[in-house]
């Protein structure tokens, strides 16, 4: 069995394993096709299961089983296997440390997607059909190409602190000094620090919002805008009464998609503060509990909570996405 499990660095071994996998797949498909084709008048469920069966089984093993096992683990104490019921959840909702984490997560889900979408929308609208549209869009889109960790390191430099009288290395504190103020410990001052970390996220996600919204703005039929213009609508009215209603479904998809990204944000907070100074969020805290504190039970409980929070967002997002497609 070991031969099938670990190929190490041997390329020939790896290729052989790949070949075996492909042959297995072909043989399996052949068997399925053969079996499904066998009966004269197969019932529909039989054919259906023949083709989706394997995928369903894999889904069961790769998604449903881990989910159930996580839920089960969340009722256990640490790694011990002792059943403690809802203890971990009670802890999550009573201990101050976790309350801060939950509060921060709520802030993130509410504030970050709204700000990113709002900025993306306004920007997309303002540069639409202007002379420098491509360059202007490119500038905002660029941060999307930087990894979360890379972006966090860049912003860590922006927030860097040096005491008064010593040469500043952080841009923000240099401005403070130029304006006659004192340099601040930005990442230490709570609750401001959570918002400063969100800035990094918004910086990355605004490009995403702008691209999608810009495409929907361009897709607004010109007869609508022209009719509005003939009726004397212009400026802010145009934006508020014509553009926004026309792209409403896209707006909601963007908002919910970013909200989902927010919920799984891990790298930014870990790189900026490692969750210290009251900045941790659920996605980071559950890693900390599981892998650093060795508390699998608490980690699982936080993971389940995260799952419970994200499900309605996903459902809403999928429904809206369908609507967008219907309109097209």
């Amino acid at each position: 069995m070991d031969w099938l499990k670990y190929a190490g660095d041997d390329p020939v071994h790896k290729l052989l394993l790949m070949l075996i996998a492909i042959v297995l797949f072909v043989v399996l498909m052949a068997i399925i096709l053969f079996v499904v084709d066998r009966p004269r008048n197969p019932p529909r469920w039989f054919v259906g299961f023949g083709f989706t069966g394997i995928a369903l089984l894999l889904l069961l093993a790769g998604l449903v089983y881990p989910a159930l096992s996580t839920i089960w683990t969340s009722f256990l104490r640490r790694n011990s296997g002792d059943f403690v019921g809802l203890d971990n959840y009670v802890r999550a909702f009573t201990e101050p440390q976790f309350l801060i984490v939950l509060g921060n997560t709520a802030l993130w889900v509410l504030v970050a997607p709204l700000v990113a979408t709002f900025l993306g929308l306004v920007y997309a609208y303002l540069v639409d059909r202007s002379r420098f549209e491509k360059i202007a869009k490119g500038l905002v889109f660029l941060p999307m190409a930087i990894s979360m960790v890379g972006a966090s390191i860049i912003w860590k430099f922006v927030y860097e602190f040096k005491p008064q009288g010593v040469e500043q290395t952080g841009v923000l504190n240099q401005f403070m000094v130029w304006l006659g103020g004192e340099p601040q410990q930005w990442l230490l001052s709570r609750p401001l620090n959570t918002f400063l970390i969100m800035v990094v996220f918004v910086w990355i996600q605004t490009g995403f919002a702008m691209t999608l919204l810009s495409a929907s703005i361009k897709a607004i039929p010109t007869d609508i805008t022209e009719a509005a213009r003939l009726d004397g609508v212009s400026g802010f009215g145009m934006f508020w009464r014509i553009t926004i209603p026309s792209i409403r479904p896209a707006l909601i998809v963007v908002l919910t998609t970013i909200a989902m990204t927010t919920l799984k944000t891990f790298d930014i907070v870990r790189t900026m503060t490692a969750g210290q100074f009251d900045t941790s969020i659920v996605a980071l805290e559950f890693y900390d509990q599981g892998f650093r504190q060795n508390d699998a039970g608490m980690a699982a409980a936080l993971a389940v909570l995260l799952f419970v929070i994200v499900v309605p967002v996903v459902v809403y997002n999928v429904r809206q996405q369908r609507k967008v497609e219907e309109i097209r």
Partner: protein
């Protein structure tokens, strides 16, 4: 502990390492680092007696995998120190260093894919692996014999869990040092303090005589997701000095609560220096800047004349920027952190331990090599730049590269020294690598009282 974990010399490297370490988590890939480590020193030329490994049979062509927190630049000398063994036996040692090792090792153990040997930076991790994962194998006889011969009873005890001896010690760190600039001290006419009171008097003298960004002490505890650990060393040193080794042992084993008044007193003793804005933080900011200043750079203000003293372990010798001369007449040197009187010499130490997960003959042979004096001497020879020392009494101090390493070895071997192992490394990981760290960080970053911080840590004890 953590000697090699944060072994980068320059801010750039530290930063790149930060990126790399986080990228590791994200990419879930391993930082495999196989190499010859050829220019690490002259370990290859170091002669060992190959006969010791003959009893393990013909090992030619076999492989042993090693998983460790020891990454560049120290990984190079570490690998070089394995060469005499590889020459003797024909075994290939596959070296894998990762800063995420402590979190990833249990994951690999659970996944049924452990390394042959892990170099554990904390006894706490060893007991977690034994108690919660039942994964580490008891040390083979020859290893135990080596440890009995070359190490003191204390050190053997750190590798023992519930009466079973699992892991032989590897290197040793001496943590009770204060770094300073010999020339600054000489110019100002300051003497090296002999007692704690001398140290406080000196601190006050410096604080009165200096203005601007200059302060007597500098400190920094930022260290990625391990932020806070350098401050735990401060507290441990204070407990040893104010309450004594017996109370220290009770504190570590939780026979007295974490927030016992004697421990609060030790916190306040550290606070006399660390929480006083007149005493810290030279060139780095106020008291709260200790929480955000990177520990790798926190001693640098000494070189700029902004601070006078920096308490850090012997391995801080490798952290100074390139070109800094470490020596009694050089740019920086260290003195023993004084105790209340000159009669006592409590010393905080730490080290790494060798845990094995498989029991093939080549793995046992390698374990035997690592626990021998052969390895200690080969490692000393392979580390020409210094910054490494061991309490292995078979190691010839003459093989150590620098005066400073010899001083560390001297303290370790000194009969008067009362050594105690790094407490946070012995405490359960929920405290030792989490709430103690974050509690210390909060202690500096917020206005939370000592009582509050210690009782928060006490509450997290599992």
């Amino acid at each position: 502990m953590r000697i090699q974990k944060f072994g980068s010399r320059r801010r750039g490297i530290a930063l790149a390492a930060g990126i790399a370490s986080t990228a590791l988590v994200l990419g879930a890939c391993a930082d495999t680092d196989e190499g010859s480590g050829g220019d690490g020193g002259d370990a290859e030329a170091f002669e060992i007696d190959c006969a010791a490994y003959e009893e393990f049979g013909d090992l030619e062509g076999t492989t042993v995998t090693v998983y460790t927190t020891i990454v560049e630049p120290e990984a190079e000398t570490q690998q070089a120190s394995y060469e005499p063994f590889e020459e003797c036996t024909g075994v290939t040692v596959e070296y894998e260093g990762s800063r995420e090792m402590e979190a990833q090792l249990p994951v690999r153990v659970q996944a049924g894919n452990p390394p042959d040997i892990a170099i554990l930076p904390q006894p706490g991790l060893l007991s977690t692996l034994v108690n919660e994962y039942d994964a580490v194998l008891p040390a083979p006889e020859q290893v135990e014999a080596n440890v009995d011969e070359f190490w003191s009873e204390d050190w053997k005890e750190y590798g023992t869990v519930d009466g079973t001896f699992y892991a032989a010690p590897l290197g040793s760190n001496v943590k009770s040092f204060v770094w300073y600039s010999p020339s600054m001290f000489a110019d100002a006419g300051y003497e090296i303090p002999e007692t704690w009171d001398d140290l406080i008097t000196l601190t006050e003298t410096i604080a009165e005589g200096n203005e601007g960004a200059t302060r007597p002490w500098c400190a920094g505890v930022e260290s990625g997701d391990a932020t806070g650990w350098p401050a735990t060393d401060w507290i441990e040193d204070m407990v040893l000095r104010s309450a004594g080794p017996e109370v220290y042992d009770q504190w570590v084993s939780h026979d007295i609560p974490f927030d016992d008044p004697q421990i609060v007193e030790a916190f306040d003793m550290a606070g006399e220096i660390l929480k006083n804005p007149d005493h810290v933080n030279g060139g780095l900011g106020g008291v709260d800047s200790i929480a955000t200043a990177s520990w790798t750079d926190a001693g640098y203000p000494i070189l700029e004349g902004n601070c006078w003293m920096h308490r850090a372990a012997n391995f801080y010798a490798t952290q100074w920027p390139e070109g800094t001369e470490v020596g009694p007449e050089g740019d920086v040197y260290a003195f023993y952190l004084p105790a209340e009187t000159t009669d006592e010499k409590p010393t905080l130490v730490a080290g790494e331990f060798i845990g094995a997960f498989t029991d093939r003959p080549e793995v046992e042979a390698f374990q035997t090599y690592l626990s021998s004096s052969d390895w200690a001497n080969a490692k000393a020879a392979a580390t020409p730049a210094g910054g490494w020392v061991s309490a292995n009494n078979g190691m010839d101090p003459e093989n150590l590269a620098t005066d400073f390493d010899k001083l560390s070895a001297e303290i370790l071997a000194d009969e008067a020294t009362v050594a105690r192992f790094d407490g946070s490394d012995l405490m359960p990981s929920a405290v030792g690598t989490d709430s103690f760290w974050s509690g210390m960080t909060e202690w500096f970053a917020s206005d939370r009282s000592t009582e509050q911080v210690t009782s928060d840590i006490e509450k997290s004890w599992p």
